[in-house]
């Protein structure tokens, strides 16, 4: 973990990642663009500012994308880091390609196969508990970061993990909720208002909780760095679905749709 977070470098990287994802969109009929865009800064911060490395230069902390359908964001970063070869994204969703619309175990850099919502937090909790079983001191324990979608927090299975994490001592578990407030039928705050707020609900189960602007990588970096470490940590990251391309922002149809040639050009122009 670095002590300072370079905002400009992060912004440049995220633009580059969004452009890369849009490139891929031109070769497939549909992909989860907007969901990837809403967690772009979150993932960028985790990979470049939070995950610590061991002596050999490999990540020792763990990242699990519970929001599996946001995986284009993860693939773009893994390619940039050299963990995934360029050919991987170039053959996305082809018969002999490595990558599909949801991450699979066995893909370099992917911690678990996700895609069905509500599985990831329990798996992340299990990984955090495995760390507790290692005979190392508390500060030598690796940290597990999980990114969830807000819709995913409706799954009862997510709450099974939320309810028990603190009692089970998983203080090395960090959950970031990509809170873009959008699901199939529109804004969750309109269709299911009592679902929010999330922060008090996590807190009541013994988590330390912070709410931030989810597109501010520096804010995420800083808040995680100063957490107490005594409890599992939840960040409610307020985000915009489709963030980065004006015509995609908060527009539901961009959940699973590839821009046409015209739209693509327009998007690229906004991302320079």
């Amino acid at each position: 973990m670095r002590n300072t977070f370079d905002r400009d470098a992060a912004a440049a990287r995220c633009k580059r990642y969004r452009r890369r994802i849009l490139d891929v969109s031109q070769r497939v009929t549909a992909l989860h663009v907007a969901p990837a865009f809403s967690c772009m800064e979150i993932l960028d911060c985790i990979y470049s500012g939070l995950l610590r490395k061991d002596g050999a230069g490999t990540f020792r902390d763990i990242f699990l994308l519970s929001k599996g359908h946001g995986c284009m964001a993860q693939y773009a970063i893994l390619e940039d880091l050299g963990i995934l070869p360029k050919s991987a994204l170039d053959t996305y969703c082809t018969a002999d390609g490595l990558l599909g619309a949801h991450p699979d175990l066995g893909i370099p850099g992917v911690a678990a196969a996700t895609g069905s919502l509500g599985h990831g937090l329990s798996m992340a909790l299990g990984m955090a508990l495995a760390e507790r079983m290692r005979k190392v001191s508390t500060h030598e324990r690796n940290i597990v970061y999980a990114v969830l979608s807000d819709g995913e927090v409706q799954e009862g299975s997510t709450w099974e993990a939320v309810m028990m994490a603190s009692s089970l001592g998983a203080s090395n578990l960090v959950a970031v909720i990509d809170n873009n407030d959008f699901q199939s039928l529109g804004r969750t705050s309109e269709t299911h208002p009592s679902f929010y707020p999330l922060d008090k609900k996590f807190e009541s189960f013994g988590w330390e909780v912070v709410s931030i602007n989810g597109h501010d990588g520096e804010a995420l970096h800083n808040t995680v760095t100063v957490r107490s470490g005594a409890k599992p940590f939840a960040v409610i990251a307020k985000t915009i679905k489709g963030k980065g391309v004006s015509y995609m922002e908060n527009v539901p149809m961009w959940h699973y749709r590839a821009p046409n040639a015209e739209e693509y050009k327009k998007a690229l122009a906004e991302l320079t």
């Binding site: 175990l105 911690a111 678990a112 196969a113 895609g115 069905s116 509500g118 599985h119 990831g120 937090l121 329990s122 798996m123 992340a124 909790l125 299990g126 990984m127 955090a128 508990l129 495995a130 760390e131 507790r132 079983m133 009862g156 299975s157 099974e160 993990a161 309810m163 028990m164 089970l168």
Partner: protein, 306 residues
């Protein structure tokens, strides 16, 4: 059966630091309590939360541990089925799912606690292995096999409860993973079963011997992957094969034996008895429920001697 399992798990847990147990609000009795006392950091109780029990096991296994999920069979398998399928099956993780009370052995508790379709459900997952010990002795050997294996994905262990009679002590053959196990060898009739029902199978075998038949009593402790060649041999070598199964008619051993019999054009008489394709509302003893499903020694013998 569950006590010998826990004893062995404790023994092996002392040698192998990867062994850990995750329960969903099951109070550890006997040797399980010993494990918890000695290795508290390797014993996790998630409360009444089976989906997270499985997810946590997946996470533990992804980090190199060898987790055992332990609760009543219906709750181990059905409640968290998608997690069993996606997190364990699809990722092919070395997690053992221990189901206490396979079949209808929790007779007084009603159908919510009857795992009468568990073999079909677990068996439908491509990477799943299914083991069903016949008695506490076999449970010991099977547990050892499961802890010591160095490869393989999820395993569903179908257990009875406790207090089962010892059947395999003087078996003609040892337990070998993936193979049928002949407990006694004869020539005319074969009685084939698995799990707790081996006790009834043995009584049927004894009954037939008393009528002068030469009987093979055969256990099938590895239900998946099934010993297809072994079953084909049984069908070829005996004039009469009786399959007994404490499971609904579809998706278990019985259906597969019939498939194999057809495939090899078997000439033997094939007599099968399973649970009915019904929910039987009865709160008597285990034998009472089995009898209500047509699974009783007199009924089987009567049919056998027709």
């Amino acid at each position: 059966m569950r006590n010998t399992f826990a004893e062995v798990l404790y023994e092996l847990g002392c040698e192998d630091e990867r062994v850990c147990i995750v329960v969903a609000d099951i109070s550890p009795a006997g040797p399980m309590a010993k494990f918890r006392e000695r290795f508290p950091e390797r014993f996790i109780n998630v409360g009444v939360a089976e989906q997270s029990m499985i997810g946590i096991c997946a996470g533990l296994a992804l980090r190199g541990m060898r987790p055992f999920a332990y609760t009543i069979a219906t709750f181990t398998l059905y409640r968290p089925f998608e997690m069993v399928r996606d997190d364990l099956g699809y990722q092919n993780l070395p997690v053992t799912l221990v189901g206490i009370g396979g079949g209808v052995i929790y007779s007084t508790l009603g159908a919510t606690h009857y795992a009468q379709e568990d073999i079909a459900i677990a068996g439908s997952i491509p990477t799943m292995t299914i083991l069903a010990p016949s008695d506490p002795e076999e449970s010991r050997e099977i547990t050892r096999w499961v802890v010591r294996r160095e490869s393989g994905g999820p395993v569903y262990l179908r257990f009875g409860k406790a207090g089962e009679p010892i059947l395999t002590k003087d078996a003609a053959e040892p337990f070998v993973f993936g193979k049928l196990r002949r407990l006694s060898i004869g020539e005319d009739v074969a009685v084939l079963s698995y799990g707790v029902l081996m006790n009834m199978a043995k009584k049927v075998a004894v009954g037939l011997s008393a009528k002068g038949r030469s009987v093979s009593l055969i256990a099938c402790p590895t239900v998946k992957p099934l010993d297809v060649a072994g079953i084909a041999n049984v069908l070829r070598r005996h004039k009469h094969v009786i399959v007994l199964e404490e499971h609904v008619p579809q998706g278990g051993l019985t259906a597969q034996v019939k498939q194999i019999a057809w495939d090899i054009q078997a000439k033997c008489r094939l007599q099968t008895h399973t649970l009915k394709d019904e929910f039987v509302h009865c709160y008597g003893s285990h034998d009472d429920i089995l009898a209500a499903h047509g699974l009783s020694v007199p009924v089987i013998l009567a049919k056998a001697t027709q």
